[in-house]
Amino acid sequence: MTIDLFRETGVEVYRQVFDWRDLVRTPISKLDNDAFSRVRIILMNGIESEQNRFLHAMARSDGRFRREAALIRRIEHHQQTLINWLNPPDQTPLETTIGFEQVAIEVTASVAQSEPDPYLAQVYRFGLLEDFDHMYRYAALMDRVEGKDANAILQSYTDIMPGRPTSQEHRHPHDDLREHYDRTNADPLSRMNALTIMAGENQTRDYYMTIGPMFSDPLARQLYAEIASIEEQHVTQYESIIDPNETWLEKWLLHEANEVYNYFSCAAFEDDPRLKEVWARFLDYELGQLHFVMELFRREEGRDPAEVLPNTLPEPIQYRSHRDYVRKVLADEQSFTAVGPEIGALPESEDTQRYREQLNGDAAPSDIISADYRWTPGTELSAKAS
């Protein structure tokens, strides 16, 4: 099943309304909801956050569309509110962090496998192993400082083991910039994938930057500072694969289409009827917004949106465990490095080596917190750990 972006018009923008009761609903259960429901909530919060960021950036740079952008942005903001407020209050910031990394691992793994461009697929695999390692470090933090088991959040879908060590992920900014796809001939799925992962990583960076100072433990604070720095690297990487020569309206069209794609993917996999209803409703909203922007595109650029958008959506993002795939990538590419736009078994630049030595000093927090750590069910204090 797919969606015809040109035939299906969704709900008209002027009918996309909310009230407070609608916006603030009963949250999910941290214990009973499937982990992938939480993954979808976290990702879609990130997708909407990206939309907000993008439309503000557009309004600040090109005043021609500020009224239209303000109108759509307000709706998207409220969509984000409804989605993000589905997170339950008993889910601590560190537990939510585990959820964020699960998003990064499983969604990036799905994207890396579906990505038609081999270079871009390599970029996703490179980032995947780094987020995979973050999970391991945060799990160690949760175990050693709080005495809690991260698997209560992961529900055994996602491994907890070292990836590419976080302490080795610190790179000079110029070694985080990749080649971008060509707006004139890029596969539509490549454009969707880039927007999705960039949105996820930007939201992750913002989240860690917000909650890092809320921790009392000094190693927790340091770990968040360290991993937030890597997430900034990831945002730099993923935004660099997007053609900066796309016009503002092209980008807006792609953003809306990507939101349609993501809500479509969520609805396809969701097993909680309350959440499925939200994804279906917002799929219709995004279709309405997409057609609003299509009209703007035709009017202002005199171009056919079909030049930019596919008729139908690609296969949805696969919300399931990608354990085997991640382990294979880990076995094949853990030692890969990035030098300028290239990724592979390459000697690192002197700039990156100097940068890393400066930042890490005597030791990186991620190495300190997880010394000799092996995840064990019930934490490393469990009798079964010995």
Partner: protein, 230 residues
Amino acid sequence: MAQYNNKTGLGSARERARPMVDGSHNAQPTSANIDRLHDQRRARSAEPQIFGSMAPPISEQIEVSSLLLDRLGERLAFERSGVRLYDALLLKHDAKGSFRGGPTRAELEHFRNEEYEHFHLLERVVEELGGDPTVLTPAADLAATESEGVLKVITDPRVDLAASLHALLVAELADNAAWEHLIGLSEQSGLEELTEQLQTCLEQEERHLASVKRWVESHDSELLDSDLLE
């Protein structure tokens, strides 16, 4: 020597507080009827909500009620986190030492090890009763939420050992009450052997509580004496 740098009260900003109080007194609220606040909150509590439930039993021959497994799961998680609280206290003790009437390192380590043994005991008990000791039960989740502040205080390096022990006191008070409650549930379930095991744990926890109370009281009593002398 006491330091007086706290700026949170009106008394530390009398000049600017006065117009603030007057201004607020003279400003008109823009909405009325505080009952709506209570009504809304009451209405939400009346709605069907799911916090979370238990996991299915691992063993088909489940021997005990779900409630007891939930409470055992709560105690298991609490003891496990309790080990980490004591780990953090030991670090503070190592960093700056203790105070007169305060704990020795050996005492803290001993209590830590007893929490550890309690955790292992509960892991075994839950498994023997057909449950899954890795489950985060609803009661365990609630207890963790209740205890968030304790962890936050104890792991804060700005909070000295004495103040950290006050946070520990909160945990040990809750712990003792919970062990008593658990023993009652075990007795009601007719689990004699388990009840005996839990009773031993409670006796150890009672000693923890008594010691922590004594340390906190000793510290504050000394400080008060010192204040009164100045």
